[in-house]
Amino acid sequence: MRFLFLLASLLPCILFAQSIKGKIFGQTPSGNEILPGATLTLLGTSQGAVSNEFGVFEINVPATIEHRLIVSFLGFKTDTIAVGERTYFSVYLSPDPKNLEAATVVAQQGGSFISALQGIKVEVINQKELTKAACCDLAGCFETQGTIQAQTTNLLLNSKELRILGLSGTYNQILVDGMPMILGGSFTYGISSIPGTLVDQIFVAKGANSVLQGFESISGQVNVVLKEPNPDKEKILLNAYLNSFGEKHLNANFSTTLGKNWKSLTSLHLVQPASKRDRDEDTFLDLPLLTRLAIYQKFTLGDEQTAGWSSKIGLRYLDEKRIGGQSNFDAKRDQGSNQVYGQVVQYQQPELYTKTAYRFNPQSKISLIASAFQHQQSAWFGVTQYTSKHLNAYANLQYEQLWAQKHDLKFGFSYRHLNLAESIRFSNNDLERTFAGDYLRQERTPGMFAENVFNFDQFSIIAGARVDHHRQFGWQFVPRLTLRYNAGDATVIRANVGRGLRSVNLFAENISLLISSRDIQFAEKLDLEKAWNTGINLTHTASGENLVATFSTDLYHTRFQNQIFPDYDSDPSLAIIQNFRGTSISNGFQFDAKFVVAKIFEAKFAYNFLDVYRRTGERKIQLPFNAKHRLMAAFSYEPKNKQWHADVNMHWMGPQRLPDTRSLPQSFQQPEFSRAFSVANVQFTKVWKKLDLYGGCENLFDFRQIRPIINWQNPFGDYFDTAFAWGPTRGRELYVGVRMRL
């Protein structure tokens, strides 16, 4: 009897005894290429497999029945293969031109976060692109594209934000490895803290996107994917950089395997300050003294595509100090002084995040995404002392199921916790400002979300929605919809509509309030910022024998239902903070053209038209510091032997409206519009087997906005304002660097 039982329990194993193996190829213009990560399903069962890095798969099948395999890979036509008697065979998939663009993204991105984006136009900036400029930090990684514009938010400390559609960086969502790590306290200096050598790829999507990562991302989403440990390819990477101002950067990455399944990447990043410079003789330093230390550690286990557990754990510790202001300012002696003006920011920021997933089969998996950071800052801006402590935690549990072959459903729960304690003091209050005090913001936001991708032959739909419960604002509903239609073989049309929300971290995300000499008036209780974003875009690819041309054009319209921005115009000595429920609009048009000639020469052009304004009564007020017209051109040449490459990019910025200064005394008044200007950057890179040597020049024509600080002669006086930078202030910058790979 026991024997029978044993036999019975073995029966399924016997039935599944046969193993078939094979290799999957895709037919591409340059010949057949393997397709790692292709999905196989045994027809009529839930059995499946995924091809490995060599395109090879293995699947156990019941020996008795005649079986058929469905083989699919995005960008190629799904094929059904009758296996017959064979135990090893090759499968060749033919390309599906309608899907090719999405395939590029997916193949490069890998992982599940991406598959949600396939119906959405995503720009990919990969490592190759990142070596075309010095790219010391994230803010410098967008020189060769037109979508994102890095904008200085505080001239004296060189803090920057990334603008999309002309809207402030707070309206887009920056994710690090898919996690919201740059917000609140970490917002102002966050994007500068990620060195280019740690970045694997950057994905940029405009407009309201997927709901999976939250209710924000009104104007777009930037996902910065950091490098994964890869001891086979890049065991050690060393990078040293020096510029003509004397700023030094050092980066070191080490990859190694730990035991059988785990891998580890350790990364060190050090910045040593430049020497003091004041070329325009306004007694203020042209660039701040920056000291930074970052230690990053990543562990990975398995990969998400294979059945079973996979995990990624990231840890980072960041310590940064920035000193700016008058050149004789001594941070130790003079902080808080009302004799010598200076700004000092010092912060520590430990971070932790993980993505852990269990894949049941090729169709389904469950994953937990969790992250936390603490940002602790102590700062002086002239006589204003600002300290803050921001504890942020985020968790997201989601389940993914591919069903009926055409659908991909994801749903789950999320929870966020925000505890932001800020304190403002004045060491001297001759200006009689009233906003000294302690501020505390606490948020506990549980939410749930669902998103389904419908894939049909010619079009796909991504429909998603989420509800979140905000402590102060109650239940909020965020729906989003994306459509993709393939018009012919080489043309894709996409459209999206969606709502976005965000709650304001006033001081943490508006550095301009702290550095200005204005008083702040809180007119009313602040509501959530709310906006609807709609967009349409068209991409067309034309390829000849030696030329591939890609054209892309898009139109986006963002309309705020409620927006919060400091009102500087009503009273020259005040910044009024209130809800603005009137008309506030961003209309953006972008045209991109990219040509790749014989795989060695590449030219890219982008034109942006951004009309960002609000209406008060009959007046149409343009958003300040936004160029209505912007042009970008980038050229690169790399010979076939890949032993060197030369890269040039040029930017032209049209006139920008400046804040209204008519109420200021005559001598401090500024023109209504800034001058149009252009900036060119060049770089030459010599590549050896293990060594790259690069050197270049930023702002080749040495364009500068001279003396950008209003009333610099009297930094503790009434009209002193450092928020008038509309162009480069530091002039030509030469740099050299060396990268070593082992």
């Binding site: 290799k23 190829f25 060599f54 090879v56 065979f89 090759s90 499968v91 060749y92 032997n641 087997k689």
Partner: protein
């Protein structure tokens, strides 16, 4: 008849390295072999990657791995199915790969082939 057709089909597949067939049939007897191919002539950055890519994109090759590229001799380990690709074919593929230094130059030479037991 069926066998003859299958054999013919296999031959065609083996003949054209960049086979155009949607699906290929299987030959009578298939064995998995692992060899280490010692190759000389690798010098610049992309050499190893070029060779690996060439091999990996062949039918019947399950795995390709190599230690660091050295000019005198680089060991490339290949796991393959004998019914789909032969050792001779692997050799000739390597030797007929264009280097990345000069157009039309084929700098790689196979110095030795060692058989290992399949894992």
């Amino acid at each position: 008849m069926k066998n003859l057709f299958a054999a013919l089909l296999t031959l065609v597949c083996l003949g054209c390295a960049q086979g155009l067939m949607a699906q290929s049939a299987q030959a009578a007897k298939d064995e998995v072999k692992v060899v280490t191919v010692k190759v000389s002539g690798l010098c610049c950055n992309g050499d190893l990657a070029t060779l690996k890519k060439k091999l990996v994109n062949q039918e019947g090759i399950d795995e390709v791995s190599a230690d660091n590229a050295k000019k005198e001799a680089t060991n490339i380990k290949v796991k393959y199915h004998t019914a789909f690709i032969s050792e001779a074919k692997i050799r000739s593929l390597i030797e007929k790969t264009e280097g990345c230094e000069k157009d039309g130059e084929m700098p790689y030479k196979v110095k030795a082939v060692t058989y290992l037991s399949p894992q």
